[in-house]
């Protein structure tokens, strides 16, 4: 078990190296010199080439790509992710403040998706092709198809503008005021969670449908288990395995979706931090954001695989 975790952790190293290197290269090749974005246009006009070169040199931007990457890597390994080109703040501090926001958004979205999707999925599987199943299926397909920025605007219009039930945007830290924080999280969470909800619903439905035809379900019935017990004790745990996989895989999409959602609802999370940094070619910040997102994606998938073993003894690693 421990050995398995160690092996999985070791396997993340090359992934992290490759991802950060690719992002580094892309940023390097992208048009636009961070110097121009760093200083105002009028000021740049005033700067001589020499002065600009000096600034580049000072920031280390004139060195070869591989040297810059090596330099970044070396410092990153020591926990130093550098400073933001604009503002000079420690990148790690910026991440520390943005990460919890995104995590809260992502985790609440998962919870929201599961709470809604699993009961509907089970119902749909037990009564396939019933009215409820068709309704659930339409909802799921609608959820997958609707672009989330559109859903967001719709929700804001309905709940904030028309009904005035919820604030349309703004942010309060979880650590400061929990009710106010949650109130402001409702709409972003629904928006972000809807896509995951749809896929979890479909997965629960097909998983349950398949499991309900397994031999061991017939055995459970033959030994006199009531239908409720058959469904929730014997079938459910087996049907949750593919759902778990979906959550792991969709976590990436969730983080991607968060970029848009955080913009719309002005949440100071990783997505917004990263997007802003890309606009001004703030290399160290972009690198930091990518690193953290990759790490959390890998971690979530490791946790999913470990949970898998917990649910299904056959996959338990010796």
């Amino acid at each position: 078990m421990i050995q398995y975790i160690i092996r999985r952790l070791l396997a993340t190293i090359p992934v992290l190296l490759i991802v950060t290197f690719i992002v580094f290269t892309l940023m390097f090749m992208a048009p636009g010199d961070p110097i121009y974005l760093l200083v105002d246009v009028e000021q740049t006009d005033g700067l001589t080439e020499v002065q600009m070169d000096a600034l580049r040199h000072e920031l280390g931007l004139d060195r070869p790509l591989i040297v810059q990457y090596g330099d970044w890597l070396w410092h990153a390994l020591q926990g130093d992710l550098g400073t933001s080109i604009r503002g000079g703040r420690q990148v790690s501090d910026m991440l520390k403040s943005a990460f919890p926001v995104s995590m809260e958004l992502a985790l609440l979205s998962i919870v929201f998706a599961l709470v809604i999707a699993i009961p509907i999925g089970i119902y749909a599987a037990l009564k396939p092709n019933s009215f409820g199943d068709l309704l659930g299926t339409s909802l799921a397909i609608g959820g997958i198809s609707a672009p989330n920025f559109w859903v967001a605007l719709l929700l804001v219009y309905l709940f904030a503008v028309k009904l005035s039930l919820l604030p349309s945007s703004g942010f309060v830290r979880f650590s400061e005021d929990i009710p106010a924080n949650l109130e402001r999280m409702v709409l972003p969470v629904i928006t972000l969670g809807i896509g995951l909800m749809a896929s979890v619903m479909r997965m629960t439905r097909s998983g349950m449908l398949e499991v309900m035809h397994q031999d061991y379900i017939r055995t459970a019935r033959a030994k006199g288990a009531k239908e409720g017990r058959v469904v929730f004790k014997h079938a459910f745990r087996n049907a949750m395995l593919p759902v778990l996989t979906i959550i792991g895989l969709q976590f990436g999409a969730l983080l991607g979706g968060a970029v848009v959602i955080e913009q719309i609802f002005s949440l100071p999370g990783m997505g917004r931090l990263g997007l802003d940094a890309i606009f001004i070619r703030d290399f160290p910040v972009v690198q930091g954001v990518v690193l953290v997102i990759t790490l959390s994606y890998l971690t979530v998938n490791l946790v999913v695989d470990l949970l898998y073993g917990l649910l299904d003894p056959r996959i338990r690693v010796s």
Partner: protein, 691 residues
Amino acid sequence: MANKQQPLLQVNDLHTYFYTEDGVVKAVDGVNFHVSRGEVLGLVGESGSGKSVTSLSIMRLIGPPGKIVSGEILFDGKPLQTMSEKEMVHIRGDAVSMIFQQPQSSLNPVYTTGDQVAEVFKLHSKMDGAEIDTRTTEMFRMVGIPDPAQKVKAYPHEMSGGQAQRVMIAMGLALSPKLLIADEPTTALDVTIQAQILDLIRNLKEQLETAVILITHDLGVIAEMADRVAVMYAGQIVEQAPVETLFAQPKHPYTQGLLASIPVLGTVKDRLDAIPGAVPNLVDLPPGCHFAARCSARIEYGLDICRHKEPDLLQVGANQEAKCWLYQSDGDHVAPLAGVAPVEKPKAASDPAPVAPAEVHAQRTTRTTTAKTLLDVKKLRKYYPVRGGVMRRVMANVKAVDGVSFTIRAGETLGLVGESGCGKSTIGRTILRLQEPTDGSVQFDGQDVFSMSRQELKGLRRDMQIVLQDPYASLNPRKQIGQSIADGLKVHNIGTAKERKDIIIDMLRKVGLEDYHALRYPHEFSGGQRQRIGIARALALNPKFIVCDEPVSALDVSIQSQVLNLLNDLQDEFDLTYLFVAHDLSVVEHISDRVAIMYLGKMVELASRDDLFRNPLHPYTQSLMSAVPIPDPTLKKERIILKGDVPSPLSPPTGCRFHTRCPLAVDRCKMEEPPFEEKRPDHFAACWEVS
């Protein structure tokens, strides 16, 4: 109180239909039978005969689109068919319980086996946790699971098939039910494990006074276990009789055909009497007798009525009933139809030949032993590495085949027998280099197969073909079967398109199919037809040698004989050499000239068929043969029941690999591996205790 006179279970005119998109499948179509207290009723039939649906109907476990349409199921005098689900829940698992064919998939993979047995007590008794634990462990002990206190914590995947079936039996018998329904309980198990499980069911049934409905397609199992037998065909019971009567004087042409079509261990016939055709589609059955289309008696006696009117199940002898127009009722007197001669009992059942006398064997001569050697296998090894640890190093090897040598002479059939995991299929595939060998050599027709380049190998593949076990999985579902057969020809650039077409049609005819079948897709064929297609595909390249890897084990009994006869005919016509891999000793005895027995990656015995079956030397061969149920209830065999399971090929026992289960094992067997040597002329065995 239930009347002791009335039968425990009485099923009257039961109809269970499935409402599918293709139409109404009349899976059970008017079935009548009873089970008395403590008796074993054998329910025998091929796939689609309705035997499983009958049993699930009794349990009221038919789900949509199926439905019990009409009929009466009286259990202990109570009508089950009208009971509410709430009432049924208390009967299932308590008074009536059931065990199934695939023990491992019938157990829930995410709970321990102990928990699953304990659940029965939880559901039907008021015992407390501690008491349930004790009873569960007790049940594990009762069904003969070693180290029960530990094994209750094991998950299904940590158990062998035999152990899993023991757990199922523990679950089924936990509350001493009045009726146990066993649906093909040993079909998925190896023959030595089957013997253990049948023995267990027999003992426990005596001990608990449980009646049993034993559902199986295996007439040998029926003969050994049942008190009374009901034969099912296409949703109906066609004959019902006490077991001795049924095997001695079968009255229905289907029963007679079935008994004549199975190879019987110890009895060798030139040809099996196959029943023509296949089990009919249960949607839109034509009027008349369901068996009419395949019935030879109907033609023989020129009966016309069979095609128009369904016969009744009539009393045709003491306790014997048959549903056939050959027998007519005249008021309360039943007699064979005028002009119908008493039907002769088939040979298979009339020759009580366990391990047969010489003259029976002599009926079919084995092929010449002077022919030249076509295939020479020397010290073949095939290991599968098991990786582990952080660096994924090779931690151990599964020694699937571990040093096996044998030869096959041109024109003969070598039967390769053993239980699952013994390496028999691996040998077949490694010889063809479908898998790369670990070590050893194979000479085919003088050429060294293992040193060949890809290009040379391609040429060789024309001469060496394979017929696979699963006729459903081995044909590409998106290709017309003509294309599937043509593939091999194209790869080898044989003929023009026109010539290839001729070859395909020729091959289809040879295997008993029609020209127009070439344009059809695999799903349009039955299992038996698909296996014929598989044979046609192998044959199209005009090979010298064919590996037949369990070619009939997925087929119904009556279809099995058709395919075996076909393989025999083709061998004579095309001068083929077969390596026939199978687990069924009776089938191997029927088709082979020489037979090799495998155990855990080693060959333990090799001899001509007659020598091997008449005078088996190795204790494993002997126990294997004694474990095969013979379809003759009058035969009381001296059975050697092997203890335990086959050990893991990952860490096979030291010395002789069979010593852990061998009744003859002495100390030397644990230390030293016995050499595979010629104990009698042309009779090889690996055993210290055989001189």
